[in-house]
């Protein structure tokens, strides 16, 4: 049910954009007003969510240690997986954010003839990594639409992404990878029983949304071409706060833009906030040095304890009889 709900939600969004532009001629609404609202919701919402996390302290130093601790000088510490210094933490976080280190560890546990076996399980890692990197590269590539003079590094990325020189306009590898990985991420939710069991509409919806965005983008670039100069005019108008609606862009662009607007607005409300959250995860971004440096809990408060004095009062007789020294004879 959650699959269908998410699927039809995205279809409804596509239809809304199509009808809005094609029938009702609401180009200004879909090309200017909604994108502005979406961008504002995204940036402000993102900041709000991160600040909300920030408003809760990290009372204890709780890194998940995944290697040998720092102890005796002749024992080799795993300085990255069990960091005791800031440098180690930075490397650990970089590996986590850029290469999905933890997911790389993934195993498949299987029961065969009453025995457990642990197999390699790198597909999720590979697909996840390829998905995120493709998404990032595509996002960065789009900056050619937002800057009057496209910086050379974006041109370089664009050149590398299309270096296979397949077709005209040149095929971007990331487009193919993104379509493929989103499909994979969807299919595994459907076909792995456990993953299906845990999946919510909130898991399918972003997948369908991203699939819709990618598909409309691919269609627009390779099949139903739009007036691309007009697209840049519109984009430049948005970012220079001088919105214009050029004529004859093509409705598929408005569908693409509307789905992106929905993604931006939905982002801070959803699990997609893992983008910011991963940086704040206390089990990864802290050094395991709490025996060396005292960690302070801002809300540490005095607690009621059973003091030694009370203890001795309870047992003084027995202690004395057993020859245990006491404070009060």
């Amino acid at each position: 049910m959650s699959i269908l709900f998410s699927f039809f939600a995205v279809i409804a969004l596509v239809v809304a954009a199509y009808a809005g532009v094609k029938i009702a001629n609401l180009q200004f609404l879909f090309g200017v007003i909604i994108p502005y609202i979406a961008i504002a919701l995204f940036i402000l919402g993102f900041i709000y969510r991160v600040l909300k996390w920030g408003s809760s302290p990290v009372p204890f130093r709780i890194p998940t240690t995944c290697g040998q601790q720092k102890s005796l000088p002749w024992l080799k510490q795993n300085k990255i997986e069990n960091p005791s210094s800031t440098a180690g933490v930075i490397i650990r976080m970089a590996l986590e954010v850029l290469l999905f280190r933890s997911l790389f560890r993934n195993l498949k546990t299987q029961l065969r003839d009453g025995k457990l076996v642990y197999g390699e399980a790198k597909w999720l890692w590979l697909a996840g990594l390829a998905f995120h990197w493709s998404f990032l590269i595509i996002f960065v590539r789009h900056f050619r639409l937002f800057l009057q003079n496209t910086p050379s590094f974006i041109k370089t990325i664009e050149g590398l992404d299309s270096f296979l020189q397949v077709g005209v306009p040149l095929l971007y590898m990331t487009d193919v990878v993104l379509l493929g990985t989103v499909t994979y991420l969807f299919l595994r939710r459907v076909f792995i029983p456990q993953v299906k069991y845990m999946s919510l509409a909130a898991d399918y919806f972003p997948l369908f949304l991203i699939l819709g965005i990618t598909a409309s983008g691919v269609l627009m670039r390779y099949f139903y071409k739009v007036h691309i100069v007009g697209v840049k005019e519109l984009a430049m108008g948005l970012v220079s706060l001088n919105p214009v609606i050029p004529q004859g862009i093509g409705v598929i662009f408005y569908i693409h833009l509307f789905l992106i607007s929905i993604l931006l607005a939905y982002f801070p409300l959803s699990k997609l906030m893992h983008m910011g959250g991963v940086f704040l995860s206390p089990t990864r971004n802290m050094a395991n040095n709490s025996r060396m440096v005292r960690h302070i809990n801002p809300w540490n408060y005095p607690v009621h304890v059973h003091t030694y004095e009370e203890y001795e009062n309870d047992f003084r007789k027995k202690m004395k009889k057993a020859g245990i020294p006491v404070e009060k004879e």
Partner: protein, 538 residues
């Protein structure tokens, strides 16, 4: 209702991983026999001034909850969201990728989908969404949100006492989401309603009043120690005289009380006594701080702090310079990650320096507490111990990394170094089941009761399976570790799954191998069993 747990290993190891057709949001928990612990007793909750103290049973329909229990739970969630960034973040950012699913020993051994860490967390997340997020309030079930009903409360209770806070899921999570953190909060919420278990609340009450979980009173500690000392004398001919509550000693030694009570922990305690005696260490035991473990940790942050406070307080009262801690798993999670923050700064102590080797334990310069495996490894490295590993030749040993010391500290190679020096036959279990990927014994966090054997044996299955592998391939017959709960629970788990493998602490093997000044020729190991080659000679 207490029938005996009779399921055979081959029945239990037939595991169905197929999730039910009906979604988890609408499937209430079924309280299966032998999978949960008895409810806490009123008297034990009263001792530590906990709310809603009354005798209750999870198996009964009526849990005797206060009228406004819902309000209490929701207030409790709100309070903790503000106190723990971990909790708030982990409620928000899970993408349900499922990487954690088959990493949990309870899921692997039982197949219940709600034991996948992600779903266990979702049980609480669904409440969080309903009452604390806009999308959950608006979209309800579509957003995975649901009302906090009595069934849901019972479900959370049931599954949050089927998590041992072992953090294995957190190793594999791309965001480091740690179910242990969520379980800790979940259990705190349960304790706001007096929903603790007897097996946790009784040790907590004992520890609070008498200094240790087992409720050993000061004279009893000395009495049980006398047995060990007699045995040591029988084995070595040496009479050891440890001191208790002695002011002015250089070092305070704290170890879990389990080591003083039941074998095989007691053999480990004998190992400590022999080692310290041989070194001539100026140290003392304490009857007040006679517990290294901390069942408070399985109750609430505050309770854990209240129990832990005794260690520093006693160190201060006795005027020692620093502290050595014995072999215990969650004790060391507490020492490493909580103690100094709760009850420090320990500025009345000195930076630990081994009086034997002069080594400065820099990694403990703030807590001033050194792990005995660190202490012993340093002794061996500096050649301060005379060891005869041949005395452990009858043992083919494998090493179990305890979850807390592996994933909440990272003490992995110290014990291995000691192990390699005190025995000749050491075989590692498969690499996906050791070090940071180690499996829990299956009965940690106060689940080591006797009424939940089905759960315990299922939880212990992955660990036992790896032990079985090294037993079949290398003839391993001894499972060594540095955790008191392991020594108690793995014994049962091995008897069930791999009956010919015994369990021991690291310092039992040290005690066996340690050549003591003036000892007689040994013919027995610490278990008073004949040493094999000596037997052959006779």
């Amino acid at each position: 209702m207490a029938t005996k747990f009779t399921a055979k290993p081959d029945e239990l190891s037939k595991i169905d991983y197929k999730p039910p057709k009906k979604g988890w949001l609408d499937t209430p928990a079924e309280f299966k026999e032998h999978t949960f612990c008895w409810g806490a007793k009123a008297k034990n909750l009263n001792i530590v001034e906990f709310p809603n103290a009354r005798d209750w049973s999870p198996a009964e329909e009526d849990w005797k909850l206060p009228e406004n229990w819902q309000e209490i739970v929701l207030e409790g969630i709100k309070d903790r969201l503000g106190k723990y960034r971990s909790f708030k973040l982990f409620m928000d950012i899970c993408v349900r990728c499922g990487a954690c699913a088959d990493k949990c020993h309870f899921f692997i051994g039982g197949g219940d989908p709600k034991n996948m860490p992600v779903l266990r967390a979702e049980l609480l997340r669904s409440i969080y969404r309903k009452y604390f997020t806009a999308s959950g309030k608006m979209l309800g079930k579509i957003a995975g949100a649901r009302e906090l009903t009595l069934d849901v409360l019972k479900e959370i209770w049931y599954y949050y006492y089927q998590c041992t806070e072992c953090r294995r899921c957190s190793v594999f999570c791309p965001y480091g989401i740690d179910q242990a953190e969520i379980t800790m909060v979940g259990r705190e919420l349960m304790n706001l309603l007096g929903l603790n278990t007897d097996w946790i609340s009784a040790p907590v009450a004992n520890c609070y009043m008498k200094g240790n979980h087992l409720g050993l009173e000061p004279h009893t500690i000395i009495n049980s120690m006398e047995f060990f000392l007699d045995d040591i004398e029988t084995i070595t001919g040496i009479k050891i005289k440890p001191t208790f509550n002695r002011k002015g000693a250089e070092i305070l030694f704290v170890t879990p009380s389990g080591d003083l009570f039941a074998d095989p922990g007691t053999y480990t305690a004998m190992g400590y006594l022999m080692l310290f005696h041989e070194l001539g260490l100026d140290y003392t035991w304490s009857t007040y701080a006679s517990e290294g473990g901390n069942f408070g940790l399985f109750t609430s942050n505050e309770m854990a702090k209240r129990l832990n406070a005794k260690i520093y307080a006693e160190a201060k009262r006795l005027g020692v310079k620093w502290i050595i801690g014995g072999e215990c798993g969650h004790m060391w999670r507490v020492v490493n990650q909580y103690m100094d923050t709760w009850n420090g700064p320990a500025d009345f102590l000195e930076e630990p320096v081994s009086p034997i080797t002069g080594t400065i334990f820099e990694n403990a310069k703030s807590t001033k507490m050194v792990h005995i495996a660190e202490f012993t490894a340093d002794l061996i490295k500096n050649g301060k111990l005379k060891l005869d590993p041949g005395r452990n030749n009858h043992l083919k040993v494998t090493w179990h990394d305890s979850c807390n010391t592996a994933r909440g500290m990272g003490i992995l190679d110290e014990p291995r170094y000691v192990l390699r020096n005190v025995c000749n036959h050491f075989h590692e279990m498969p690499e996906d089941t050791i070090r940071e990927k180690t499996f829990c014994c299956g009965s940690g966090t106060g689940l080591n009761a006797s009424e939940n054997m089905d759960l315990r044996m299922r939880g212990g299955f992955p660990r036992a399976n790896a032990v079985k592998y090294v037993r079949n391939n290398y003839g391993v017959n001894m499972l060594a570790n540095i955790c008191a709960i392991d020594r108690a629970t793995l014994k049962a788990s091995m008897e069930y799954w791999v009956p010919d493998v015994s369990v021991c602490g690291l310092h039992e093997l040290v005690g066996n191998a340690l050549v003591m000044t003036g000892e007689k020729e040994r013919t027995q190991d610490l278990r008073l069993e004949p040493l094999p080659e000596k037997e052959a000679k006779e």
